[in-house]
Amino acid sequence: MEFGFTFSNTLAAILTIGIISFLWRDNPLYKLCEALFVGVSAGYWFVSLYYQNLLPQLFDKLGLTLIITPHADVKEGALQVLFKQGRFDERILYIFAGILGIMMLMRLFPNLGWVSRWPLAFIVGTTSGLYFTTYFQSNAMAQLKSTIIPLNSINNIVIVVGTVCGLIYFYFSKEHKGVLGGAAKVGTWFLMVTFGASFGYTVMSRMSLLIGRIDFIFSTWLGLVK
């Protein structure tokens, strides 16, 4: 970004004001910004995914980049290793990823749409396998460990009681009545304090985001604030 009343800054400032104007009411400038934002951001991710995922992860690894542009400044891929050196390179397995990706695109043909369930099933499998272990390890085990503490101070008692009652709130198998109901009630109090406190805690940083935009308008663009 540059300083002053330049074309670039004016463009950025108009877009900034356009988005903020939505707070007053929906209006043509906001509609313009919104439509532009959707198009530009979709394009941004489209280009980024190509250069940051598809190209290095698939084309470079397989060696397709070198086949298409022989003088490109990239290392040899699995295909070159296989055909020039006659050696098996495990990167050749990435060809399956390419196949799965193309199967995904079969969605575009109504009769072949079902093929796209394979890559989808692959993603769901990866996700559930990954989450199954990592979440248990980092959320359940680690949090459990740090909650087992000596009950020798008010602070520690607050932590243990709060965690226990909070967990009881999430207990689904019994109606929350009697002792269980009482504990679950205390659990909701803790949850409410948690939500209130984390809300209050973030207010400040949200303000600073807006300060950044206002500063852009008044000092970078208009030069009114030194």
Binding site: R107, V164, S173, K174
Partner: protein, 375 residues
């Protein structure tokens, strides 16, 4: 394999030579996939704060104890550890660590042999393994019981009780229902939970003939949501009412997506909005705009940082685990209800461990927490 050596090359103060590091211990990195050896030494007596001449350590490696040592790495003053990630499993190595001070060098005797290897089980994770095994067995056992026909009680979940009412209200008003399945892709279990709940909501909208709009921010979510909505309409006997354009993509960008939904909400004023899945900062932007047009809003997420905002701006919020319980609760399918019971079993175990463990810690009987150390 543990090998250690002690060596004392006499220090010659006239030449300003440093003392070498001592007690070098080299061993295979445990619980790994091989290819690494870890070295640990006690610092040289010259390696003290304020001694600016002391530069650091050099690590040398060879496959023979007598010759062929080459520098494989350096470590700054004050360090006592280095991992050699460039070993070939099974090959025997010898190591030397030497101190550098000014232009002089002092080295200890070589230590070894040591070789790296890969292990068949990560023993550091045995606790997670056992716990997950117990939990999974419990879940599967309850699913089995549920399938056998045992009735399983599940308490009311306020946010889910309201789903019928919310769909009903939209029908009465003749307005649309928006369903936002989060802003993350299918590589997030919350998104999967979100689209599963969409199936139950879509069944209701099919029955009531209420217009449903599902704007999404990821292509794969679009594909999945279409499958699910289509099946729901089919099961409700209304395949004719289904249309691909009910589920449409906007942009992968978190705020671009929020900007577009804000616009849609103020223009079309939906009667009901669902937010179910993984959300980041856009949560409040969406929920406040939805609130401004008077929509009934039901949210559910397992993103702890966004829960406060949904609680503040929505009529009902499914908190964390309740999001994952929702599909079971809404469908009342035995196999799903069974897994909820399994979760509750896990919760009871955790509660018991916290209470008993804290008592043990209070009286200092032994260090109970060490059982739960994660690696």
């Amino acid at each position: 394999m543990n090998v250690s050596a002690f060596c004392a090359v006499p220090e010659d103060p006239s030449y300003g030579a440093p003392a070498p590091p001592t007690d070098l211990v080299v061993r295979d990195v445990p619980n790994d996939a091989g290819g690494a050896i870890i070295l640990h030494w006690d610092p040289s007596v010259d390696d003290v704060e304020g001694n600016d001449k002391f530069i650091g350590y050099e690590i040398l490696r060879s496959t023979s104890p007598d010759s062929g040592f080459k520098v494989i790495g350096t470590a700054t003053a004050g360090s006592t550890e280095l991992t050699d990630n460039q070993t070939v499993d099974g090959k025997k190595y010898y190591y030397i660590v030497r101190s550098l001070m000014g232009s002089s060098i002092a080295e200890a005797w070589p230590v070894g042999p040591v070789s790296s290897s890969q292990q068949w089980f990560n023993l550091g994770r045995i606790n997670s393994f056992i716990a997950l095994l117990i939990l999974s067995t419990a879940i599967l056992w309850y699913i089995h019981r549920a399938r056998r026909g045992d009735t399983l009680f599940i308490r009311k979940i306020a946010g889910l009780e309201a789903v019928d009412e919310a769909v009903g209200r939209a029908t009465e008003m003749g307005k649309a229902i928006y369903y936002i399945p989060g802003t993350q892709d299918m590589d997030n279990v919350q998104t999967i939970a979100g689209v599963t709940i969409l199936g139950r909501v879509a069944k209701l909208t099919a029955q009531y003939e209420t217009p449903l709009d599902v704007p999404v921010s990821r292509s794969l979510v679009m594909i999945t949501a279409r499958e699910i909505v289509k099946e729901a309409y089919l099961n409700a006997g209304r395949p004719d009412a289904y249309n691909d354009s009910m589920v449409h993509y906007l942009t992968d960008d978190q705020f671009g997506y929020a900007a577009a939904i804000d616009g849609m909400v103020v223009r079309e004023k939906p009667a009901t909005i669902f937010y179910m899945g993984a959300f980041y900062a856009e949560s409040l932007i969406l929920a406040e705009t939805g609130n401004s047009v008077g929509a009934i809003q039901i949210a559910g997420t397992a993103m702890p940082a966004q829960l406060p905002f949904f609680i503040a701006a929505c009529d009902y919020t499914l908190i964390g685990e309740e999001l994952f319980a929702a599909s079971a609760y809404l469908s009342k399918e035995p196999k799903l209800l069974g897994s909820l019971k399994g979760q509750d079993f896990g919760k009871l175990c955790i509660l018991g461990i916290i209470i008993i463990g804290s008592i043990i810690q209070t009286f200092g009987i032994f260090d109970f927490t060490s059982i739960f150390t994660v690696q």
